[in-house]
Amino acid sequence: MSENTFERHDKREIVEKYFDMIYKLALSQTKNRDSADDAVQEVFLRFLKSDKKFESDEHIKAWLIRVAVNCCHNVFSNSWAQKTTPLTEDIIFDTEEKGDVYYAVLELPQKYRAVIHLFYYEDMSIEEIARALGQNASTVKSQLSRGRKMLRNMLEGGYGLV
């Protein structure tokens, strides 16, 4: 990539391309739309301000995921009820099983949630997740395994979780 690869319209394209991915990741991490909005803004503002040289689209994606998870670590559901809505009231699914599965994932500890989300929704491999989160592959494997175990316990029948 050339020195001036990321002109404004390129950065806009990248933001548009990864916005939904980062937003849904942030939502699964923060369990709250307002907090997810804050986190997503923070992620992309850092991206726009950054003059980091990215080697590929995969590099950008991994960077965005890492920054998103770090930003979301700072945010939990706040107690100022007037300005926030718990996710359980905000998202209503058309089937009960979707709600069961989605909210079961939200019940997981934050570090397992990220791995489960990236593995099952973003179809990332364990190596890709490890690279994105800055962890060892073995750590990711163990978090995935524990997350699955917890989900099996929470979800009756396990919904085919192996």
């Binding site: 307002d34 726009l48 945010v75 939990f76 998202i91 396990g158 979780l161």
Partner: protein
């Protein structure tokens, strides 16, 4: 099946695409980060190489200067005589000095040195160099009395910058645990009583988000509500017994850090 259902559930979620325009508007207002020219990097490397090379070259020269000359054996007696003579002269000179009465002694006036009064509030030289008046936000409690400390507004002007601090505490963020609603309410009440419910100057309402508990300390985000969104002022850690309150920072490698010598409740 789980994967299919989870994917489908996430696909149903509508994202807030209006944020994209807001992000670009905000980015346009803020100055862009600039990278230092490469010349600084290379210049520093060259300077470092030069310093090491100079030190390596100079060291033998300096070592030679410090070496005592080795006297041949036959000159020892003569050297001893020279030294004895020098010693005698030295004693003579000292004797003369002691017998001389300083003429100005009686004329000396006792001058009391004027020691300027320095308010030493901190050992941090960077903090001493900064002006004290009207710095940051003046925090006023509900009763209207000034609490006597100021906090810089926003992450860019933080009083706590991690430099020169000798009592830093660093805790991994992954150790963060959740807190009960009762604890959240208690801490929120405490922070509102300490800082007030809104900024006096801007009248923006304060928001205290209790993020969790870390190593016995409540971790909190202090924000204020600006028109239609909240904006972060700073991050705080508060002890369980509510006697300690520190401004903290998040490091990029997943730690929370604060200076334990800067208890805001004691300043």
């Amino acid at each position: 099946m789980f994967k299919r259902i989870y994917k489908s559930a996430n696909d149903d979620i509508k994202t807030n695409r209006e944020l994209i325009d807001k992000i670009f508007e905000t980015a346009e207002k803020a100055p862009a980060a600039t990278r230092r020219p490469q010349i600084f990097k290379y210049g520093t490397a060259v300077a470092a190489v030069f310093v090491f090379a100079a030190a390596a070259f100079m060291y033998p020269q300096l070592a030679k200067l410090n070496e005592q000359p080795q006297l041949p054996v036959e000159n020892t007696e003569e050297q001893g005589k020279i030294e004895e003579k020098a010693l005698q002269e030295d004693v003579l000179q000292k004797t003369e000095e002691e017998t001389v009465i300083p003429e100005t002694k009686t004329e000396q006036q006792e001058v009391t040195p004027i020691i300027p009064k320095v308010e030493v509030q901190s050992e941090d030289p960077t903090e001493l160099a900064q002006p004290k008046e009207n710095e940051g936000i003046a925090i006023v409690s509900e009763s209207g009395d000034a609490q006597g400390f100021s906090i810089s507004e926003g992450p860019s002007g933080r009083m706590f910058d991690g430099s020169g601090a000798a009592e830093m505490k660093t805790v991994a963020l992954e150790l963060l645990t959740e807190v009960s609603e009762e604890e959240k309410a208690m801490v929120e009440v405490f922070l509102k009583s300490t800082f007030g419910e809104r900024d006096e100057q801007t009248e923006n309402a304060y928001i205290f988000e209790i993020v969790g508990k870390l190593d016995g300390m409540f971790l909190c985000r202090w924000k204020h509500w600006v028109i239609d969104h909240s904006s972060l002022l700073t991050e705080l850690v508060i002890s369980e017994d509510l006697t300690e309150l520190y401004e903290c920072i998040y490091t990029e490698d997943g730690f929370v850090q604060w200076n334990t010598s800067n208890n805001m409740l004691e300043n």
